[in-house]
């Protein structure tokens, strides 16, 4: 089913604040099998010039996933048919333990590709103080029946 083109350009309210913890960063690093001490040891992170342990480059997906706006039935998105098409992160600085962040997402593109529907969601990940940490570009593809 075609996605609702009225959603192109629509922005959603900021997500609830999410506090990035050392424990969650370590859990994520364990899950991707990455032993880098900069994700685990505050001293190693400081030696590399960071105030605390930093998160792996793909960690922001943890906070940017689960956009409530995409659950709006009026969008006509069938999650059972969705595959992840593309993903990009543009970093101002690494996310680190102690950051409290919110995500603000905008649907920037919806178009048909053959029998599939493609949608791009841009998200600003900012600290509650307003510092931009990264922009994420999430492209999903809803497979046609």
């Amino acid at each position: 089913m075609a996605l609702n083109r009225d959603f192109i350009g629509r922005s959603f309210p900021p997500s609830d604040p999410y506090e990035v913890s050392r424990v969650k960063i370590r859990e994520f690093a364990d899950a991707i099998g990455d032993r880098n001490p900069i994700y685990r040891d505050a001293e190693a992170a400081k030696a590399a010039g960071h105030p605390d342990v930093i998160a792996p480059p793909t960690f922001p997906i943890v906070v940017s996933l689960g956009n409530a706006g995409l659950a709006d039935p009026a969008l006509n998105l069938n999650y059972a048919m969705v595959v992840h098409g593309e993903q990009r992160f543009e970093y101002s600085r690494p996310l680190r333990a102690g950051d409290v962040v919110t995500c603000t997402s905008t649907i920037t593109e919806i178009k048909s590709i053959g029998s599939n529907e493609k949608m791009v969601v841009e998200t600003d990940v900012k600290t509650v103080e307003g510092e931009l940490i990264c922009k994420t570009y999430n492209t999903i593809v809803e497979r046609g029946a």
């Binding site: 994520f28 899950a31 991707i32 900069i38 792996p56 793909t58």
Partner: protein, 141 residues
């Protein structure tokens, strides 16, 4: 934030040696828990097959994370990565017995100003390209 690779020491075409990353079902269960993506196509074989997949497949973001690990292990400091993007071209199929292997290699594709370089990644599993247009911009020392 200090990368361990010097900008002056790399050229366009400099190759980053290939690495192999094993992937098994346990990794996918851990990744589901850590990321919050509990889509059953990543851990329940009967569900994956019912929706037309050959078997359980890895989270695209798990594969992207392995590419990120490849780049940050080379650069030294993960904070040196300023941009990272991929297209998911083919799923990584992870059988119950034996799992799968990701083969990742890289090459410096372009030198930018401000000590930045563009690294192009190649990621394959079972001889299929699983990522395309995979590029990271890294600020070197």
């Amino acid at each position: 934030m200090t990368a361990k690779v010097n900008y002056a020491d790399v050229e366009v075409g400099t190759e980053i040696p290939a690495q192999s990353y094993p992937v098994d079902r346990m990794n996918l269960v851990m990744y589901a828990g850590a990321s919050g993506d509990f889509n059953p196509i990543h851990w329940r074989e009967s569900f994956a097959k019912a929706v037309g997949l050959p078997d359980v497949i890895a989270h695209g973001m798990f594969t992207m994370a392995q590419g990120g690990r490849f780049v940050t292990d080379w650069a030294g400091d993960p904070g040196a990565v300023v941009d990272y993007g991929v297209r998911f071209s083919s799923p990584v199929v992870v059988p119950d017995e034996g799992g799968a292997t990701l083969e990742i290699s890289g090459k410096v594709e372009e030198k930018l100003d401000d000590n930045k370089v563009v690294v192009a990644l190649t990621a394959k599993s079972a001889d299929q390209k699983v990522l395309t247009r995979a590029k990271a911009v890294v600020r070197l020392a």
